[in-house]
């Protein structure tokens, strides 16, 4: 009887692939946050939620306003498959809104677990978890989970996304 050794194929996603693949880093919590920075965190959260609202309600003007003029959108699936990079507000939102014609369901980008790092009066980084749902024909599905790693900048008092990285836990 021949004995064979079969190499075990790794399954994807590898747990904690964001950290192990250096796509994200969990930092220590800020100490002694002052009131101005704390209030700015509300607006940073507001921007993250508005990104979800704008996409799901297919509101292109609101979606455009989520990004700086020279923003970058990029991503990776499970740490193994890069998503092409898109540069510039219009390029990004043209690409994002291009999905709408092919999505007949009601998507909800449910944003949770927002943490903010490296915050100053004008800049901040944020990590966010996403649960994407889709409702259609009496059926509700969880489409995917992912994380966002964001860099935001303040323009005339308004926070906008300057860099967005989305890490997808599932292939889609």
């Amino acid at each position: 009887m021949l004995e064979t050794s079969v190499a075990q194929k790794p399954t994807l996603p590898t747990p904690a692939w964001g950290s192990s693949g250096s796509f994200l880093q969990i930092n220590q919590a800020e100490k002694d946050l002052n009131l101005d920075l704390a209030l700015d965190r509300l607006l940073i959260q507001d921007r993250i939620y508005r990104y979800a609202w704008a996409f799901d309600e297919r509101h292109i003007d609101a979606l455009n306003n989520c990004f700086t003029e020279d923003a970058v959108w990029e991503g990776n699936t499970q740490g193994v498959t890069p998503v092409p990079q898109f540069k510039g507000r219009t390029t990004i939102t043209d690409w994002l809104s291009g999905f709408w014609a092919n999505q007949s369901d009601q998507r909800r980008h449910v944003m949770v677990n927002i943490v903010i790092d490296n915050q100053s009066a004008e800049k901040a980084d944020a990590l966010v978890m996403l649960m994407l749902t889709a409702a259609e024909q009496s059926k509700l599905e969880i489409v995917l989970t992912s994380f966002y790693k964001l860099h935001l900048e303040k323009e005339s008092g308004v926070w906008r996304i300057a860099h967005l990285f989305e890490g997808f836990d599932v292939d889609f």
Binding site: L43, Y49, A52, E57, W100, R107, V110, L140, G157
Partner: protein, 167 residues
Amino acid sequence: MNEDQASVRPSWGHIDQVINLNTDQSLVSKEMLTERVLIAERMYRYGWAFDERQIDALGECFTENATWQASIMGTSSLGPFNGRIEIMNFMKGFWPNQSDQRRHNITNVIVEIQSEQSVNVLAYLVLMSASEQGLKPVTTGFYKVEMIKLDGTWKIQDLLVGFDLAY
């Protein structure tokens, strides 16, 4: 309402003009920004009170003459129920018939129009159900809420919940 629609239409809230999302963040004072902590908390307390079947806490979420109504995908509606007592009677009427543990996960809370005494709020809902049959998502949707400040406390004056599924 269009009774002929059998399934959800993507962005139906906008199509039916139930929602008119602002195109950008609004600039508000520090004081008004601070109020948003309590405004969001009112939404979360509404979820807690219903799921924990605390009728007094649920009643506290609303003004005396509040209204509550629902739209199911823009194709059918429920309510309006007028006044706190009518709303409470309607809501607690579900409890004897729901043997599962519901969780109203309320997220993506944004403030649209804000003054010192009133505010318009939008939020997402992901309704989950836990029972012997397991855990399942029931529906998603949104809340469109007007709150007013009474004696320093934010309370719901008008609530519209939009469900993405009939359930």
